[in-house]
């Protein structure tokens, strides 16, 4: 055997070994879906439980196209790798999950594999849903089967090469996904464990609140230390940092209120989190919200060192102009001293959403405005007007720098370039 063929042989063996490893990693913890499951008629209580869990997982939000029939899929999820279209979850025989068994559904939730054996794209957050118990998966299945079937064929994804290939996805999964149901920590209370199960599992909080790498994977699978939401230019703040959205020092009741009503004495939600509260968490029981609050309160703190106070601009033409802009456009609602109006307009002084290092959200909210979600506890929220047509990049940067550096706020300045980047990305 000459050198070349030895080398070729080595390459072939290595490639075969790597493929076998990737294959083995991809079928970890899979059940045999061909084993029939005793199919008792689902009870009303099982369906109701599934409906509740579907709220907890916010399934409908992604699996419904804008203005389309509920759960019939077709919403495009834009990712850095192309657009993934959600699938039809109604029990339609041909186009939905009408021919799926509870085991097929479980394998999708737990292993991220479709009925036909295809690997699913992790835009479907099975990296979190894998923690869901079989019992809860079966309840979800029973609920989805109770929906009216809708004939809506699944739309093919429009992913770029090489991301559209199953082989690439298999490698991704070998690197960033391992299946496993939530394992209770016996050293913690039952409440904490319930909260952890909801936050890490169906709640899939990590899908936004944990940073992703260039391949869209999460290296630290659930640190909840904040992450930019791909393609949207919203930053899901760190739930572990006292300088972002950490809640360690909050009253538990305030955390519950934020998730239930969208507003609380400490903060209110807007942007993508408003959708989460509106469609998902407002429907959860106080006990479950309390459990989530307990878990979030006890998350290990990160970044405990205070950020460096920024050099504050004082005096000069730009400060004068910024002050004037603030008085003209902002002070009416947010107060001359950035104190806000309780239960209506948030204070800007000492507001972490204002002073956070990552300022995308601040620019977004001033550009596009927004309401807190309308919830049972806060059915008529107040709103922030869009300023996209009123303030140009320079003025917006001035006024944002002003609110980040007044009334004791000590955050870095915002440049017109940063404003322009967000403005351009939202197409306005």
């Amino acid at each position: 055997m000459n050198k070349l063929s030895k080398f070729t042989l080595a390459v072939v063996v290595l490639a075969a070994g790597a493929s076998a490893l990737v294959w083995a990693l991809n079928v970890r913890d899979e059940i045999d879906v061909t084993v029939p499951v005793a199919a008792a008629a689902p009870s009303e209580s099982l369906v109701a439980r599934g409906a509740y869990l579907a709220r907890a997982g916010n399934c409908q939000a992604c699996h419904t196209a804008q203005g389309g029939p509920a759960y019939a899929g077709g919403r495009g999820i834009a990712t850095p790798f192309g657009t993934v279209f959600t699938s039809n979850l109604t029990p339609h025989e041909k186009t939905g999950i009408g021919s799926w068994s509870p085991s097929h559904f479980w394998r999708a939730m737990h292993n991220g594999r479709s009925k036909d054996g295809r690997l699913l794209y992790p835009a479907f957050p099975y990296t979190s849903y894998t923690q869901v118990t079989r019992e809860d998966s079966d309840a979800l299945y029973a609920y989805l089967r109770s929906l009216p079937p809708v004939a809506a064929p699944n739309q093919p994804h429009t992913l770029r090469f090489p991301y559209q290939s199953q082989a690439a996805l298999a490698v991704w999964r070998a690197l960033f996904f391992s299946p496993g149901v939530y394992e209770a920590d016996s050293a913690r209370s039952a409440e904490w464990n319930r909260g952890a199960y909801l936050v890490k599992g169906l709640g899939h909080c990590a899908a936004c609140h944990t940073a992703r790498n260039a391949l869209g994977g999460s290296e630290r699978s659930l640190d909840l230390a904040g992450g930019l939401i791909p393609m949207q230019n919203w930053y899901a703040p760190s739930l572990t940092s006292p300088y972002e959205a950490g809640v360690a020092d909050w009253d538990k009741q305030h955390i519950v209120s934020l998730l239930k009503n969208g507003v609380s004495p400490r903060a209110s939600v807007t942007g993508p989190m408003a959708e989460v509260v509106q469609r998902s968490t407002q429907y959860l029981s106080d006990a479950d919200l309390g459990a989530m609050a307990q878990f979030l309160k006890e998350l290990p703190a990160s970044h405990t060192a205070a950020p460096e106070p920024a050099a504050i601009r004082t005096g000069g033409e730009s400060v004068e102009r910024a002050t004037k802009l603030y008085e003209q456009h902002c002070a009416q609602c947010h107060g001359a001293g950035g104190e806000g109006i309780p239960n209506a307009y948030p204070a800007l002084a000492g507001n972490r959403a204002v002073t956070m290092g990552e300022a995308s959200n601040l620019v977004q909210i001033v550009l596009n405005g927004g309401y807190a979600p309308a919830t049972e506890g806060n059915p008529r929220p107040f709103g922030m007007p869009p300023f996209v047509l009123v303030l140009d990049d320079t003025d917006m940067a001035l006024v944002l720098t002003h609110v980040r550096q007044s009334w004791g706020n000590r955050a870095s300045e915002i440049t017109p370039l940063e404003v322009n980047r967000i403005r351009a990305s939202t197409g306005r």
Partner: protein, 261 residues
Amino acid sequence: MQETRSGHSWRRTLARYALPAALAWAAAGSAAAAPPPFEDSIAQRAMACTACHGPQGRAAPDGYYPRLAGKPAGYLYNQLLNFRDGRRHYGLMTQLIEPLSDAYLMEIATYFSQLEVPYPAPLPATASPEVLSHGRKLVLEGDPARQLPACVQCHGQAMTGVAPGIPGLLGLPRDYLNAQLGAWKAGQRRAHAPDCMKEVVARLSLEDINAVASWAAAQPLPASTKPAASLPPPRPGATAITCGSATAPAATTAVPVKAQK
């Protein structure tokens, strides 16, 4: 060629009318007294709307943010749902109202429908007499040969709309009317099924659209600008038209809607 023939002249139109109007508007705003103090009202809550649609929803000067004040509540509610559900397209609008409930959107719609604020005088028509007369004929009589109903058959003899779902046609800039009819023709603007307006606009040519928009935009407002309570009797030989609409949601809360003048 008439400048009014197409939408391409919008920049010029903006420069000629909207800019001075915007300046006048801004001046009026700054001349006003200190901003009203905070009140726990629907008017306060609707300030996110009036930032673009003008104080009390009296329309923005640029012609692209239409008047809301006094339009029928059902019509405004339908439009809010249309933006939310993708039958009308404007990202800013969709994003703003997405987190709100049906009941709250209805309350906002009702609030604006109850506002009675004066209309500005219409801008003088710039189209040729032939174009205007063609527009007038289509609006008032339609074109039976093309099964084209008169606009007034549904939008009211006084063109101030018909409660609860049909909007008035007056007090809207020509560019806005042109843009909306054009969007309907291109399938960019839709209504609840059955989408009657789609059927009507399909029979209009771009020349027809421009004629209708040019004439309607130049008409003065009648003494009463309120929407009619019911449809006018159909003209002899006119076919009945069925239009879709959303079901009104149950009222939100115990807080009554308070209209501000």
